[in-house]
Symmetry: C2
Subunit: 200 residues, 2 copies
Amino acid sequence: MLLYNSMVSGNCYKVRLLLAHLGIDYERRELDVVDRSDRPDVLGGLNPDLRVPTLVLDDGRPLAESGAILWYFGEGTRFVPADRYDRAKVLQWMFFEQYTHEPAIAVARFLLAYSGEPEKYASTIESRQRSGTKALEAMETHLAAAGSHIVGTSITLADIVLYAYTHVTHEGGFDLEPYPALRAWLERVAGEPGHVPIDA
Amino acid sequence: MLLYNSMVSGNCYKVRLLLAHLGIDYERRELDVVDRSDRPDVLGGLNPDLRVPTLVLDDGRPLAESGAILWYFGEGTRFVPADRYDRAKVLQWMFFEQYTHEPAIAVARFLLAYSGEPEKYASTIESRQRSGTKALEAMETHLAAAGSHIVGTSITLADIVLYAYTHVTHEGGFDLEPYPALRAWLERVAGEPGHVPIDA
């Protein structure tokens, strides 16, 4: 199994983290996230959106979008709840992460820490930080009222996807000090047996 | 069952279209998509992101994010494939729609046709039209090579979600003339028995 990967991409980290938890082996091929000129040659035919992560299964069939890859491997394990409503709530937070959280928090982080020209993107960074702060506030409100995890009382795909970019928010200029429930949850996810860091 | 709805929102239309196909009854409460000042009062406690669609099940439990609502009702029906890989491919296109397609195509449409001040947003509209065109090209390439539907040869949630905003792209200033496979697919989805239009 081959993962087209980027070590700095939180979307790729989600896949690496779940596969580590599940003890599934795979190979990696690293793609550049700044110079994307080789993407059509490398990912054309595998992923219509030319993004990483893109996975190629052992039988050659490709799978793209971190959320879909996670679901493929998560179904039937403790990372996808058996209850129908809880399963939908996990997807609710996975779609929240991709629609609201990631475009703000991951993009602010990328432009500030990895683009190589943060000055050029100053106003975009500022607007993404404003949206990102709202996403963090929504998470804090939920976690302060919820159980120990995003959905229920044990780790699911919802925790995996939200952990990925939330735990590196400082690289996007965010301060987590105002969010005690969120900080406790980050420690809980990182303390899960089998956890691996983003640079592993 | 109560759906917090907007008649112009494609995300709400996805839910209405699936529930119509499945013959499931529900009540609607219409929310304004321009003046959102009542959102914290109405949706606070139901949806951390304060967006529509938000659904309240008969037992009072809330569910948010169109993709999660669709999955909740789609599982076990012909709209979610029984095969594990096909199921993941449906989610791949659902995440593609929410991450890449909707933020370009739906936002261009909203700013141009519904915001009431398209001149103010001219440069945003133009950049979203450029991103939206890439998303339409990715769909055309896929549909020209694929079977009759986004995943496999019958309608799934992937068709429902991509139909919703693609069939009203003209309101966002897009021209579908260059995309014959996409136009044939739109007609196929609209011709499905049980189909309802966006204003139904």
